[in-house]
Protein backbone atom coordinates (compact mmCIF):
# COMPACT_ATOMS: atom_id res chain seq x y z
CA UNK A 1 0.00 0.00 0.00
CA UNK A 2 1.29 3.45 -0.85
CA UNK A 3 0.38 6.64 0.95
CA UNK A 4 1.54 10.18 1.08
CA UNK A 5 2.86 11.31 4.44
CA UNK A 6 1.41 14.65 5.50
CA UNK A 7 2.94 16.59 8.39
CA UNK A 8 0.47 17.55 11.14
CA UNK A 9 -0.27 21.29 11.37
CA UNK A 10 1.61 21.50 14.70
CA UNK A 11 4.86 20.38 13.07
CA UNK A 12 4.82 22.92 10.24
CA UNK A 13 7.71 25.35 10.66
CA UNK A 14 7.37 28.95 9.56
CA UNK A 15 10.01 31.65 9.25
CA UNK A 16 9.30 35.32 9.90
CA UNK A 17 9.86 37.51 6.83
CA UNK A 18 10.23 41.28 7.08
CA UNK A 19 8.63 43.18 4.20
CA UNK A 20 9.02 46.66 5.66
CA UNK A 21 10.15 47.55 9.19
CA UNK A 22 7.56 49.54 11.14
CA UNK A 23 7.06 50.74 14.72
CA UNK A 24 3.86 50.47 16.75
CA UNK A 25 2.74 53.41 18.88
CA UNK A 26 1.75 53.06 22.57
CA UNK A 27 -1.16 55.39 21.79
CA UNK A 28 -3.05 52.63 19.97
CA UNK A 29 -4.28 49.18 20.81
CA UNK A 30 -3.64 47.00 23.88
CA UNK A 31 -1.19 44.06 24.04
CA UNK A 32 -3.15 40.79 24.59
CA UNK A 33 -1.81 40.29 28.15
CA UNK A 34 -2.78 43.83 29.22
CA UNK A 35 -6.52 43.71 28.45
CA UNK A 36 -8.93 44.69 31.23
CA UNK A 37 -10.51 41.57 32.78
CA UNK A 38 -13.84 42.11 31.02
CA UNK A 39 -12.12 42.09 27.62
CA UNK A 40 -9.77 39.29 28.66
CA UNK A 41 -12.92 37.15 29.12
CA UNK A 42 -14.75 38.37 25.98
CA UNK A 43 -11.63 37.67 23.92
CA UNK A 44 -10.76 34.53 25.84
CA UNK A 45 -10.37 30.78 25.40
CA UNK A 46 -10.56 28.02 27.96
CA UNK A 47 -8.45 24.90 27.34
CA UNK A 48 -10.90 22.63 29.10
CA UNK A 49 -10.30 19.06 30.24
CA UNK A 50 -13.67 17.55 29.32
CA UNK A 51 -14.89 15.12 31.97
CA UNK A 52 -16.38 11.76 30.95
CA UNK A 53 -20.17 11.63 31.00
CA UNK A 54 -21.67 14.96 29.95
CA UNK A 55 -21.66 15.87 26.24
CA UNK A 56 -19.35 18.54 24.78
CA UNK A 57 -22.46 20.69 24.32
CA UNK A 58 -23.47 20.35 27.99
CA UNK A 59 -19.95 21.10 29.20
CA UNK A 60 -19.85 24.23 27.02
CA UNK A 61 -23.17 25.37 28.54
CA UNK A 62 -21.70 24.93 32.04
CA UNK A 63 -18.66 27.04 31.14
CA UNK A 64 -21.01 29.78 29.92
CA UNK A 65 -22.92 29.64 33.18
CA UNK A 66 -19.83 29.58 35.46
CA UNK A 67 -18.24 32.57 33.71
CA UNK A 68 -21.51 34.40 33.04
CA UNK A 69 -20.82 34.87 29.31
CA UNK A 70 -23.46 35.18 26.59
CA UNK A 71 -21.89 32.90 23.95
CA UNK A 72 -19.35 30.11 23.87
CA UNK A 73 -18.33 27.68 21.15
CA UNK A 74 -16.15 24.60 21.34
CA UNK A 75 -13.47 23.35 18.96
CA UNK A 76 -14.70 19.89 18.03
CA UNK A 77 -17.19 17.56 19.69
CA UNK A 78 -15.76 14.83 21.90
CA UNK A 79 -18.42 12.18 21.57
CA UNK A 80 -20.27 10.68 24.49
CA UNK A 81 -20.85 6.96 24.01
CA UNK A 82 -24.51 5.84 24.05
CA UNK A 83 -25.84 5.30 27.52
CA UNK A 84 -23.34 7.46 29.38
CA UNK A 85 -25.01 10.22 31.36
CA UNK A 86 -27.24 11.48 28.60
CA UNK A 87 -30.82 11.03 27.49
CA UNK A 88 -31.02 8.24 24.89
CA UNK A 89 -32.00 9.43 21.40
Amino acid sequence: MTYKKVAPPWEVERRLLVREEAETSDKYGIPPDKRPLKDHIRFGYVNLDKPAGPSSHEVTAWVKKILGVSHAGHGGTLETPPGVGETPL
Partner: protein, 250 residues
Protein backbone atom coordinates in the same frame (compact mmCIF):
# COMPACT_ATOMS: atom_id res chain seq x y z
CA UNK B 1 -14.59 10.44 26.17
CA UNK B 2 -12.34 12.98 27.86
CA UNK B 3 -9.56 15.43 27.16
CA UNK B 4 -8.81 18.69 25.40
CA UNK B 5 -11.95 20.67 24.55
CA UNK B 6 -11.04 24.29 23.73
CA UNK B 7 -13.93 26.68 24.30
CA UNK B 8 -14.04 30.15 22.75
CA UNK B 9 -15.86 32.79 24.81
CA UNK B 10 -18.07 35.47 23.24
CA UNK B 11 -15.96 37.26 20.55
CA UNK B 12 -13.57 34.29 20.44
CA UNK B 13 -16.24 31.99 18.97
CA UNK B 14 -15.23 33.62 15.66
CA UNK B 15 -11.90 31.78 15.66
CA UNK B 16 -13.10 28.23 16.37
CA UNK B 17 -12.49 27.46 12.66
CA UNK B 18 -8.79 28.24 13.22
CA UNK B 19 -8.65 25.66 16.03
CA UNK B 20 -10.39 23.06 13.83
CA UNK B 21 -7.89 23.70 11.02
CA UNK B 22 -5.13 22.68 13.44
CA UNK B 23 -6.07 18.97 13.61
CA UNK B 24 -6.37 16.62 16.57
CA UNK B 25 -4.41 14.03 18.52
CA UNK B 26 -5.92 11.20 20.55
CA UNK B 27 -4.75 8.38 22.78
CA UNK B 28 -7.12 5.44 23.17
CA UNK B 29 -7.69 1.78 23.84
CA UNK B 30 -8.89 -0.61 21.13
CA UNK B 31 -10.49 -3.85 22.29
CA UNK B 32 -9.96 -6.70 19.81
CA UNK B 33 -12.71 -9.32 19.49
CA UNK B 34 -10.19 -12.13 18.85
CA UNK B 35 -6.52 -12.94 19.31
CA UNK B 36 -4.10 -11.30 16.88
CA UNK B 37 -0.28 -11.11 16.76
CA UNK B 38 1.24 -7.80 17.81
CA UNK B 39 3.06 -7.40 14.48
CA UNK B 40 -0.20 -7.78 12.51
CA UNK B 41 -1.87 -5.12 14.65
CA UNK B 42 1.01 -2.70 14.06
CA UNK B 43 0.83 -3.34 10.31
CA UNK B 44 -2.96 -2.87 10.18
CA UNK B 45 -2.73 0.51 11.93
CA UNK B 46 -0.01 1.61 9.54
CA UNK B 47 -2.31 1.01 6.57
CA UNK B 48 -4.53 3.80 7.84
CA UNK B 49 -1.85 6.49 7.54
CA UNK B 50 -2.44 9.21 4.94
CA UNK B 51 -5.78 9.83 3.24
CA UNK B 52 -8.63 7.55 4.34
CA UNK B 53 -12.30 7.33 3.39
CA UNK B 54 -14.98 7.52 6.07
CA UNK B 55 -18.75 7.63 6.08
CA UNK B 56 -19.90 9.59 9.17
CA UNK B 57 -21.64 7.29 11.69
CA UNK B 58 -25.43 7.24 12.21
CA UNK B 59 -25.13 9.36 15.32
CA UNK B 60 -23.37 12.33 13.81
CA UNK B 61 -24.15 15.96 13.18
CA UNK B 62 -23.01 16.10 9.54
CA UNK B 63 -24.41 14.80 6.25
CA UNK B 64 -23.66 11.09 5.93
CA UNK B 65 -21.75 11.06 2.67
CA UNK B 66 -18.34 9.44 2.27
CA UNK B 67 -15.54 11.92 2.77
CA UNK B 68 -11.76 11.78 3.00
CA UNK B 69 -9.77 12.60 6.13
CA UNK B 70 -6.01 12.73 6.60
CA UNK B 71 -4.32 10.62 9.26
CA UNK B 72 -0.95 12.25 9.96
CA UNK B 73 0.31 9.38 12.07
CA UNK B 74 -1.08 6.42 13.95
CA UNK B 75 0.85 4.00 16.10
CA UNK B 76 0.52 1.24 18.64
CA UNK B 77 2.03 2.20 22.00
CA UNK B 78 1.40 -1.01 23.89
CA UNK B 79 -0.59 -4.23 23.65
CA UNK B 80 -1.85 -6.44 26.45
CA UNK B 81 -3.86 -9.44 25.31
CA UNK B 82 -6.78 -8.02 23.33
CA UNK B 83 -6.29 -4.45 24.58
CA UNK B 84 -4.31 -2.16 22.28
CA UNK B 85 -3.16 1.27 23.42
CA UNK B 86 -2.84 3.53 20.36
CA UNK B 87 -2.07 7.13 19.45
CA UNK B 88 -3.39 8.96 16.38
CA UNK B 89 -2.79 12.42 14.90
CA UNK B 90 -5.51 13.35 12.41
CA UNK B 91 -7.48 16.00 10.59
CA UNK B 92 -10.50 17.46 12.44
CA UNK B 93 -13.69 15.52 11.71
CA UNK B 94 -12.05 12.08 11.71
CA UNK B 95 -14.23 9.56 13.54
CA UNK B 96 -11.88 7.56 15.74
CA UNK B 97 -14.53 5.03 16.76
CA UNK B 98 -15.03 4.32 13.04
CA UNK B 99 -11.28 4.14 12.40
CA UNK B 100 -10.86 1.55 15.15
CA UNK B 101 -13.82 -0.44 13.85
CA UNK B 102 -12.19 -0.45 10.39
CA UNK B 103 -8.80 -1.56 11.80
CA UNK B 104 -10.69 -4.45 13.41
CA UNK B 105 -12.21 -5.36 10.04
CA UNK B 106 -8.79 -5.39 8.38
CA UNK B 107 -7.57 -7.74 11.13
CA UNK B 108 -10.55 -10.01 10.48
CA UNK B 109 -11.54 -10.36 14.13
CA UNK B 110 -13.41 -7.12 14.66
CA UNK B 111 -12.68 -4.50 17.33
CA UNK B 112 -14.22 -1.59 19.15
CA UNK B 113 -12.94 1.48 20.90
CA UNK B 114 -13.00 1.06 24.67
CA UNK B 115 -11.40 4.35 25.78
CA UNK B 116 -10.50 7.64 24.15
CA UNK B 117 -8.79 10.77 25.35
CA UNK B 118 -8.04 13.81 23.18
CA UNK B 119 -4.51 15.02 23.86
CA UNK B 120 -4.52 17.88 21.35
CA UNK B 121 -6.99 20.16 19.53
CA UNK B 122 -5.08 22.47 17.17
CA UNK B 123 -2.72 24.60 19.28
CA UNK B 124 -4.19 23.37 22.59
CA UNK B 125 -2.60 20.38 24.31
CA UNK B 126 -3.06 18.62 27.62
CA UNK B 127 0.46 19.57 28.69
CA UNK B 128 -0.20 23.30 28.85
CA UNK B 129 -2.94 25.31 30.58
CA UNK B 130 -5.48 22.47 30.69
CA UNK B 131 -8.18 23.35 33.24
CA UNK B 132 -11.03 21.41 34.81
CA UNK B 133 -14.55 22.79 35.29
CA UNK B 134 -13.79 22.93 39.02
CA UNK B 135 -10.76 25.18 38.39
CA UNK B 136 -12.98 27.58 36.45
CA UNK B 137 -15.61 27.67 39.18
CA UNK B 138 -12.95 28.19 41.88
CA UNK B 139 -11.23 30.96 39.91
CA UNK B 140 -14.56 32.73 39.42
CA UNK B 141 -15.37 32.40 43.15
CA UNK B 142 -11.93 33.80 44.00
CA UNK B 143 -12.80 36.91 42.00
CA UNK B 144 -16.34 37.22 43.37
CA UNK B 145 -15.41 36.61 47.02
CA UNK B 146 -11.88 38.00 47.32
CA UNK B 147 -11.92 40.53 44.49
CA UNK B 148 -8.77 38.93 43.06
CA UNK B 149 -8.78 38.42 39.29
CA UNK B 150 -5.30 36.86 38.98
CA UNK B 151 -6.52 33.24 39.02
CA UNK B 152 -9.27 33.86 36.47
CA UNK B 153 -6.71 35.57 34.21
CA UNK B 154 -4.62 32.41 34.34
CA UNK B 155 -7.37 29.90 33.49
CA UNK B 156 -8.62 32.01 30.58
CA UNK B 157 -6.22 32.38 27.65
CA UNK B 158 -6.18 35.24 25.13
CA UNK B 159 -7.89 34.65 21.74
CA UNK B 160 -4.44 34.91 20.13
CA UNK B 161 -3.64 31.40 21.42
CA UNK B 162 -6.28 30.00 19.04
CA UNK B 163 -4.40 31.12 15.92
CA UNK B 164 -0.96 29.92 17.05
CA UNK B 165 -0.72 27.34 14.24
CA UNK B 166 -1.93 29.62 11.42
CA UNK B 167 0.38 31.50 9.05
CA UNK B 168 0.39 35.23 9.91
CA UNK B 169 0.73 38.69 8.50
CA UNK B 170 1.56 41.64 10.77
CA UNK B 171 0.04 44.94 9.68
CA UNK B 172 1.16 48.48 10.45
CA UNK B 173 -0.77 50.66 12.92
CA UNK B 174 -2.04 52.70 9.97
CA UNK B 175 -3.66 49.66 8.35
CA UNK B 176 -5.45 48.19 11.40
CA UNK B 177 -8.58 50.35 11.62
CA UNK B 178 -9.60 49.87 7.97
CA UNK B 179 -9.41 46.07 8.45
CA UNK B 180 -11.58 46.43 11.59
CA UNK B 181 -14.14 48.06 9.26
CA UNK B 182 -13.92 45.01 6.99
CA UNK B 183 -11.43 46.24 4.37
CA UNK B 184 -9.22 43.65 2.69
CA UNK B 185 -5.52 43.55 3.54
CA UNK B 186 -3.46 45.45 0.99
CA UNK B 187 0.24 44.79 0.39
CA UNK B 188 1.55 48.24 1.50
CA UNK B 189 -0.04 47.81 4.96
CA UNK B 190 1.95 44.64 5.69
CA UNK B 191 5.12 44.92 7.76
CA UNK B 192 5.99 41.25 8.46
CA UNK B 193 4.65 37.84 7.51
CA UNK B 194 5.40 34.16 7.91
CA UNK B 195 6.77 31.98 5.14
CA UNK B 196 4.68 29.29 3.48
CA UNK B 197 1.46 31.25 2.78
CA UNK B 198 -0.34 30.00 -0.34
CA UNK B 199 -3.40 31.51 -2.06
CA UNK B 200 -6.55 30.14 -0.41
CA UNK B 201 -4.90 29.63 3.02
CA UNK B 202 -6.57 30.83 6.21
CA UNK B 203 -4.26 33.47 7.69
CA UNK B 204 -4.28 35.37 11.01
CA UNK B 205 -3.91 39.13 10.59
CA UNK B 206 -2.02 40.52 13.58
CA UNK B 207 -1.16 44.02 14.82
CA UNK B 208 2.49 44.78 15.59
CA UNK B 209 1.51 44.52 19.29
CA UNK B 210 0.48 40.92 18.70
CA UNK B 211 -3.29 41.51 18.82
CA UNK B 212 -5.43 39.32 16.56
CA UNK B 213 -7.11 41.75 14.15
CA UNK B 214 -8.91 39.38 11.78
CA UNK B 215 -8.95 36.05 9.99
CA UNK B 216 -8.39 36.38 6.26
CA UNK B 217 -8.04 34.26 3.13
CA UNK B 218 -4.76 34.64 1.21
CA UNK B 219 -4.91 35.93 -2.36
CA UNK B 220 -1.12 35.90 -2.72
CA UNK B 221 1.72 33.65 -1.61
CA UNK B 222 4.32 34.79 0.95
CA UNK B 223 6.78 35.35 -1.88
CA UNK B 224 4.29 37.40 -3.90
CA UNK B 225 3.55 39.57 -0.86
CA UNK B 226 7.30 40.13 -0.36
CA UNK B 227 7.80 41.16 -3.99
CA UNK B 228 4.59 43.11 -4.73
CA UNK B 229 4.23 46.85 -4.18
CA UNK B 230 0.46 47.05 -4.32
CA UNK B 231 -2.64 44.92 -4.56
CA UNK B 232 -4.87 42.89 -2.24
CA UNK B 233 -2.81 40.29 -0.38
CA UNK B 234 -5.65 38.81 1.69
CA UNK B 235 -9.44 38.99 1.80
CA UNK B 236 -10.81 39.67 5.28
CA UNK B 237 -13.31 37.04 6.50
CA UNK B 238 -13.84 37.54 10.25
CA UNK B 239 -12.93 40.70 12.17
CA UNK B 240 -12.03 40.13 15.82
CA UNK B 241 -10.43 43.40 17.00
CA UNK B 242 -13.03 46.10 17.87
CA UNK B 243 -13.15 49.37 15.94
CA UNK B 244 -11.78 52.53 17.54
CA UNK B 245 -8.48 51.28 18.99
CA UNK B 246 -6.34 52.42 16.04
CA UNK B 247 -6.40 55.70 14.06
CA UNK B 248 -8.59 56.22 11.02
CA UNK B 249 -6.25 57.02 8.15
CA UNK B 250 -8.77 57.55 5.38
Amino acid sequence: MTGVLPIGLEESTKTVQAVLAGGKEYVGVMKLHGDVDFSRVVKAFKEFTGEIYQRPPLRSSVKRRIRTRTIYYVSVIEMDGRNVLFKVGCQSGTYIRKLIHDVGEVLGVGAHMAELRRTRAGPYTEDENLVRLQDLADAKAYLDEKGDESWLRKVILPVETSVALLPKVYVKDSAVEAICYGAHVAVPGISKLTSGINPGDLVAVMSLKGELVALARAEMSSQQIMEAERGIALKTERVILPKGLYPKTW
